[in-house]
């Protein structure tokens, strides 16, 4: 609790009218950010729940979908974000020290890493688009370009290997593309299938490529919603950093006043941490099925 006691006017930079002193203002803003982050956890929590529920039911579809994400790009992005967390932490440090030059430099670096992250995401999204893996009807390069393609694959879907992008299978519904059911076959042989999978992938005891595809599509749906919302948070983060950059440039922050830097940092770290969970869940789980 903060004392209101003294009544004389303050002229500290950035003190807003409703507060009595800087202490009270900083405490308020910091509690606000923590409460906001609690809210964010619940927001992403709903999505993580959906992910867990469906991964629990359809592990093979999720493994198959996951194996088509590129862990190189995902790993690179993880690295980039971890480094950006470091530069963010250094931003706060230099703000406290009142070192304007290094503070500005660190903000620029943080923004740079943030942009690299978004750039890599853009590359990945484009790649998914080119391979017909965007789970939205009509958002599919292959179907748009290749209208003459055969409407059903000639091959048995369990015979098709992993990851070859040049196959000509076209989803008869014209949307999400998927033809590789080899993992189902494998799981069936080794008796891995969950109860839901035994119903979810088969028609009359036969592997049903369309039914399996719908489950993989679900994985990509969750992938796009989660990473998309995460990217949106990154973009907002970059906006915040731009504002910080300007404020730091005109020399607002010093040992006495650096709360905005600190709470922007909290936000930035939070967005990083979300990615730290997304990366293994989306890219890594299920990779051992590749071998």
């Amino acid at each position: 609790m903060t004392a209101h006691g003294d009544t004389h006017e303050h002229h500290e930079p950035g003190l807003q009218h409703q507060f009595e002193d800087m202490n009270q203002q900083e405490e308020s803003v910091s509690i606000a950010m923590w409460a906001f982050l609690a809210q964010e956890i619940m927001f992403f929590g709903g999505l993580f729940t959906a992910y867990l529920v469906f991964r629990w039911r359809f592990p093979m579809a999720f493994a198959a979908g996951s194996n088509h994400l590129d862990p190189f790009w995902g790993g690179l992005n993880t690295l980039v974000l971890i480094v950006s967390s470091l530069t963010m932490a250094l931003t706060v440090y230099y703000a406290q020290k009142g070192n304007r030059t290094l503070q500005v430099a660190m903000i620029v670096l943080t923004m740079l890493f943030g942009s690299v992250f978004l750039g890599v995401k853009a590359i990945e999204y484009t790649d998914k688009y080119n391979h017909g893996l965007v789970p939205v009807t009509g958002w599919n390069k292959k179907v748009k370009e290749d209208t003459s393609a055969p409407h059903v694959t000639e091959q048995d879907c369990t015979q098709v290997g992993h990851g070859d992008g040049d196959d000509h299978y076209v989803n008869p519904k014209g949307e999400f593309q998927w033809k590789d059911c080899s993992l189902v076959k494998l799981a069936q042989e080794k008796n891995y299938l969950t109860a839901d999978e035994k119903i979810g992938y088969f028609t009359n005891g036969e592997i049903d490529a369309d039914k399996f595809r719908d489950k993989v599509r679900l994985f990509y749906f969750i992938y796009f919603v989660m990473t998309g919302l995460h990217a949106l948070h990154m973009i907002i983060g970059l906006g915040v950093m731009l504002w910080l950059l300007w404020k730091a440039w005109i020399g607002t922050y010093g040992p006495k006043y650096y709360a905005p830097v600190e709470i922007s940092g909290l936000y930035w770290h939070f967005v990083d941490i979300v990615w730290i969970f997304l990366f293994p869940l989306l890219y890594l789980l299920g990779r051992h099925f590749l071998h």
Binding site: M1, T2, A3, H4, G5, T7, Q16, H17, Q18, F19, E20, Q24, E27, S28, I31, A32, A35, F36, A38, Q39, E40, M42, F43, F44, G45, G46, L47, T49, A50, V53, F54, R57, F58, P135, V136, T137, E175, G200, K211, D214, K215, R217, L218, F221, I222, V225
Partner: protein, 558 residues
């Protein structure tokens, strides 16, 4: 103790108009860009009332349709839209914001002795978000509306409904952030903005109740937000996350929805409980019985409220074991509500009770909330609920808690603080008449519905068997009385703005901080930073609250 004359309410307001928050700036801009919590509260009052009126019109159509057994007034498809839109407007745009965003916004800073909420700009932002969400929803209703029920159950909402589910979903999604921001602001303010001497256990219980509400708002709302967003995306991209036909799971939707919406029913009652604590203590002129119990029961409700969502899903195919656990936890969550009710009654015991309008409403609340809560227990017991679920019994249950509880508490609060908000007194006579009419009309409307439900009349149908007509006629007749009772305050409160007697600073002679500033308060709330040296609900005569003495003085000066 405080300087007696400073808080004595009966100084006659000076003749020349003082600068207060209402007349401090007259331009439209001074309202639309204000950061003053009191002005924001008034703008909320207007907007929320508009939504209440719209929801009420839909309700009128529902009751008219149900006057006769056949579905004659409305087509069945239209009827679906009417009850859906009634529910959506009432729940998301009236009931959730009503007390927190209007009374909470206005009073919280006054009660804790602050100049404003901690984040005034965020507060204004929340109002704009509310407007944007509201406008999108209204636009969707104009275009054709929704017919999924306020619960948006899948797969109906994802696959089979050809109405504007996505637009309304987005409206509700956006609106959710308005209550998240309000909750955030309250939590921060209660932590950091309390005046010197205003310790946690000197806070009025209204503030405790809002703290608990805010917890639910920031932890629950994001979950329903993301759920409704998923429904919208699912409709757009046709992906089976909730639709079983393409591999989705409709029960997952229900889990996510009720994970928020059960706690949300506490967003819709906790603030009301806060109001009732103030009114009952005030008009019994007694310190509330068991202050700590009432305070912590609010927190307990907020916490346990997150653990009982499964009681909405007893018949949806969750496992028997889950059903048992949820049934047990439902009984547990009723305990804190019962504690509060006992404490209110104990507060009145040997109190010096006066039956002013707010108190009449509050006493009505006690009776109605009791019935609502107890029937909740019926519904929470795993055997009985199978018979009662999706019947009019449910409809009666939640109207007893939502209307009998929250709406009546809201009215109690509006009447109680009206003099402070506007500086005017309303007609006590008409106030009492409306309180009585609302109570009688309400019971006449909803009590028959318990019986109807028990007899098996399902909810959400436009027609019903002939033998149920008598009770339905009662219900519709009651609704008319209730409607008149609810419209009356609109008339006499607006009348009071122009012709009402000027209100004293402390018309009820109550000790809360909000009564120790002028009516209406100045923009900065208090001339000087208050220093709190007394306990909450300190009606001691040495605080200058000797009401007999005050009346004598008033008689002399008038």
């Amino acid at each position: 103790m405080q300087d007696v004359s400073a808080i004595s309410g009966n100084s006659i307001p000076a003749d020349e108009p003082k600068l207060n928050y209402i007349n401090n700036g007259h331009t439209l801009k001074s309202w639309l860009l204000t950061k003053d919590h009191k002005r924001i509260a008034l703008m909320y009052l207007l907007s929320v009332s508009a939504f209440f009126l719209m929801g009420g019109i839909y309700a009128a159509f529902i009751r008219l349709e149900l006057l006769t057994p056949a579905s004659d007034l409305l087509e069945t498809a239209t009827y679906n839209k009417v009850f859906t839109q009634h529910g959506i407007l009432m729940v998301f745009f009236f009931l959730i914001p009503a007390i927190p965003a209007i009374l909470g916004n206005f009073l919280l800073p006054l009660m804790i002795g602050a100049k404003d909420l901690a984040l005034p700009r965020i507060n204004l932002l929340s109002l704009y978000i509310y407007w944007i969400g509201g406008i999108i929803t209204l636009w969707a209703l104009m275009k054709g509306g929704v017919d999924t029920g306020w619960t948006f159950y899948t797969p109906y909402s994802t696959t089979f409904s050809n109405s504007y589910v996505m637009a309304v979903g987005i409206g509700v999604f956006i609106n959710g952030f308005s209550s998240i921001l309000t909750g955030l602001n309250f939590i921060v303010s209660i932590h950091t903005m309390r005046a010197p001497g205003m310790t946690w256990f000197r806070l009025p219980l209204f503030v405790w109740a809002h703290y608990a509400t805010s917890l639910v708002m920031i932890l629950g709302t994001p979950v329903v937000a993301i759920t409704i967003l998923l429904v919208a995306i699912e409709r757009f991209a046709r992906i089976g996350i909730f639709d079983p036909a393409i591999g989705g799971d409709p029960i997952l939707f229900q889990h996510l929805f009720w994970f928020y919406s059960h706690p949300a029913v506490y967003i819709m009652i906790l603030p009301g409980m806060g109001v009732i604590s103030e009114v009952i203590a005030g008009f019994s002129r007694k310190r509330i019985f068991g202050y700590e119990f009432v305070a912590f029961s609010s927190i307990a409700i907020a916490v346990f409220g997150f653990l009982v969502w499964g009681h909405h899903m007893f018949v949806s195919g969750q496992s028997v074991f889950a059903g048992l656990v949820f049934s047990f936890l439902t009984m547990v969550v009723a305990v804190p509500s019962a504690i509060k009710t006992f404490n209110w009654v104990a507060t009145m015991y040997k109190g010096s009770i006066s039956y002013d309008t707010p108190m009449l409403y509050a006493i009505g609340f006690l009776g109605l909330f009791l019935v609502g809560g107890l029937t909740g227990l019926f519904l929470g017991s795993i055997g009985l609920t199978v018979h009662l679920t999706d019947t009019y019994f449910i409809v009666a249950h939640f109207h007893y808690v939502m209307v009998g509880g929250q709406v009546i508490a809201y009215l109690a609060g509006i009447h109680y603080w009206w003099p402070k908000m506007t500086g005017r007194m309303y007609s006590e006579f008409w106030g009492k008449v409306s309180a009585m009419l609302v109570f009688v009309g309400f019971n006449l409307t909803f009590f028959p519905q318990f019986i109807l439900g028990y007899m098996g009349m399902p909810r959400r149908y436009a027609s019903y068997p002939e033998e149920l007509q008598v009770l339905n006629i009662f219900s519709t007749a009651g609704a008319s009385v209730l409607g008149i009772g609810l419209l009356m305050p609109v008339v006499y409160l607006i009348h009071s703005l122009f012709y009402g007697k000027k209100a004293a600073d402390n018309p009820w002679m109550h000790p809360g901080l909000e009564w120790r500033t002028s009516s209406p308060p100045p923009t900065e709330n208090f001339k000087e930073m208050p220093v709190v040296t007394w306990e909450a609900y300190d009606f001691g005569e040495e605080s200058g609250l000797d009401i007999e003495e005050a009346r004598r003085r008033e008689a002399v000066t008038v």
